[in-house]
Assembly symmetry: C2
Homo-oligomer: 388 residues x 2
């Protein structure tokens, strides 16, 4: 296995924000996947904030959700007006304090924002993989992240932190590489998808695959399945909100009208909001990546993978200290699923703190400004740092 | 206005089950709609069970939900193996006892199972209406049902009973024609859609309209938007179930396999179940009807229509006795929405009983066998009959 680093951009932002690319699994040493297929070369795009201390003991790995990317905080240059996706949490003095910690975020395997995925070029054909891309798992994502940590010379992570599909990666890190993780913060996540969560993902996938432009996944030289991907995003987006948040934000308010139009088309504000979300998404995301990542999330099942069906057994090798956080209004991964994990951790005498945050914003709450989560994370990380 | 009746089928079934068609609003006297458009002629398909007593005081109108039809109970003949959609509730000795009551169920305006809807022939063009069909409301559905009651000579209904979109029609009957209704049973319903409910309907509609075969609604002479309609049904179907019911019914069970296939396609049982539901639906339902009826449900807002925004005011003219029923696991129309109605009724000194049934089956619970609902309805109807 060989490796190289391509510096990409360095900007003022918060402290030092760097975006880099790390490529590994060069032929003939390909990355072996859980499905038994192999793939290579594999490029992982990653961003770092803060400075790694001399003994490399202050590194934190932040893991993004389904549609996120490696750009977690700050801006790259003056033209970059949109800060990273977790800018509320990562920065000087923030919940994850970049004055103290070296924070890394990498784009997940299978995605389309710098890391290798179905829209990457298949070296065997010289064309985009499309659906010739092998099926990947949360475990495969974590394997590629581990290669990145090896490359950076980080033997022990102070913490792994992530929400939703990022939280699944957190759990996978702790069970797959228990000796590489000192603490872990899985947020608004689950150890396995419920039938309800699988159902929503499957309908979203069907929406993409029903779009004639999808062309069995080989659409890169022609029209893209935009309508299908927008629909998939709309379906997903509903599950990220809550009944209460939608009522407070939209209720039955009409869009630019005082009376009903008696026509099809976006008439209620919630309808135009969803259409806006769908249309915004197709500009930045690849439909095949959506298929692969949702499938990886559906496959994820910690108890099956590591405990022969027992969640208690699955956590038996974990040594990390945990902070588990759920949200009252998250109906995609409800609190009972977090409690199930916490119970299994406790049976293994794992040091775990659990907090259910009372918030109305649904599953997406961890992405919204709220001092409570920032304070919880800051306090927890301080404790872990002091543990030495 | 002229009218006629075409007997359709009479069969053994339970007692006497008759399916008939009633056509009214013949030109030039068209049915005036809430949108200010007009339509005619209008045919309403309806079924009756039981016998109307001489003073016509034992008539009950059953109102079906989104995809239902007039065939509520029994079978028409020996070849008809599938009984009506509410056979568990309507029949001799059942919750709605056809030995005592004359029970009517009509297919709603805008549907595609006998009554006039977008798949009907537009007399002006000699072709199917498609999206030239005018937008309809729950009020318009009830107007057409009232014409049927006039035709049958039924001045006063012993009860109007329905769940979901059928429950909206129940509420509309009680506020639009208060002197024609002696009692009412709205089940698993709401007086207005939440933003969440509108969101799901809108995404389902978008799925249909994104199907290239939809052809702006004029597809009757060509390929139908089957993929879009199947998707719409899958989205809807998820909202009719609950997290718990899906967990108990499917969990993470695989379809015909013991290990993951690492392929796209129905792999988990819940996926193939949803695909089955979608594919079954396209054989019996019209995509445009789905668009029109979901839009009517989204428009429905009792407080806006009858109370200038106040639900208390909306119920101020109601004289019916009410039995309101909700289900603990119904997250499409949660109990708080039923309680809101009940509170407004009580402020008007309306005689209302409210029951939240503890059931895991989600919104669809009222369609599933459960003695509790049958007993509640039977007892309530007995009380109303005795009042009579």
């Amino acid at each position: 296995m060989s490796e190289y680093v391509t510096p990409y951009k360095t900007g003022p932002g918060i402290g030092v924000v760097e975006k880099k690319f790390f490529t590994f699994a060069l032929p003939p040493n390909l990355l072996k996947l859980e499905s038994c297929a192999s793939i290579g070369p594999v490029t992982i795009a990653y961003e770092t904030c803060g400075r790694l201390n001399p003994d490399k003991s202050n590194a934190i790995l932040v893991l993004h959700a389904l549609s996120g990317d490696s750009h977690m905080a700050g801006v790259y240059d003056a033209k970059d007006t949109k800060p990273g996706w977790w800018d509320i949490m990562v920065g000087p003095g923030k919940g994850i304090d970049t004055d103290q910690y070296f924070v890394i975020c990498s784009n997940i395997l299978g995605s389309c924002v710098g890391s290798t995925g179905p829209s990457s070029i298949n070296p065997e054909t010289g064309k985009e993989y499309g659906t010739c891309f092998p099926m990947i798992t949360i475990g495969d994502m974590v394997e590629s992240q581990k290669a990145l940590m090896d490359h950076l010379g980080i033997q022990s992570l102070l913490s792994v932190i992530g929400g939703s599909v990022g939280g699944m990666q957190v759990l996978e890190w702790c069970t797959r590489f228990p000796d590489r993780v000192r603490s872990a913060i899985p947020l608004a996540t689950t150890s396995r998808h419920s039938a309800l969560a699988i159902a929503f993902n499957e309908v979203a996938r069907q929406a993409i695959m029903a779009d004639p432009n999808w062309s069995e996944g080989h659409y890169y030289s022609g029209k893209k399945p935009d309508l299908g991907l927008a629909l998939a995003r709309m379906i997903g987006h509903i599950t990220y909100l809550s009944d209460e948040s939608m009522r407070l934000k939209f209720g039955r308010k009409l869009q630019n009208r005082s009376a009903l139009s008696f026509e099809f088309g976006a008439e209620f504000q919630v309808e135009s909001y969803l259409q806006y979300q769908g249309n915004k998404f197709i500009e930045r995301f690849d439909a095949n990546s959506f298929l692969y990542i949702t499938k990886a999330a559906d496959y994820f099942d910690l108890a099956r993978q590591y405990g022969e069906g027992s969640m208690v057994k699955a956590f038996s090798n974990c040594t990390a200290k945990f902070l588990v956080v759920s949200y009252t209004s998250d109906w995609l991964y409800p609190t009972y699923q977090s409690k199930e994990m916490v119970k299994a951790m406790k049976k293994n005498d794992i040091d775990v703190s659990f907090c259910e945050i009372d918030a109305q914003w649904g599953h997406d709450a961890f992405l919204l400004p709220d001092d409570r989560l920032g304070n919880l994370i800051k306090g927890f990380l301080k404790g872990v740092s002091n543990d030495g």
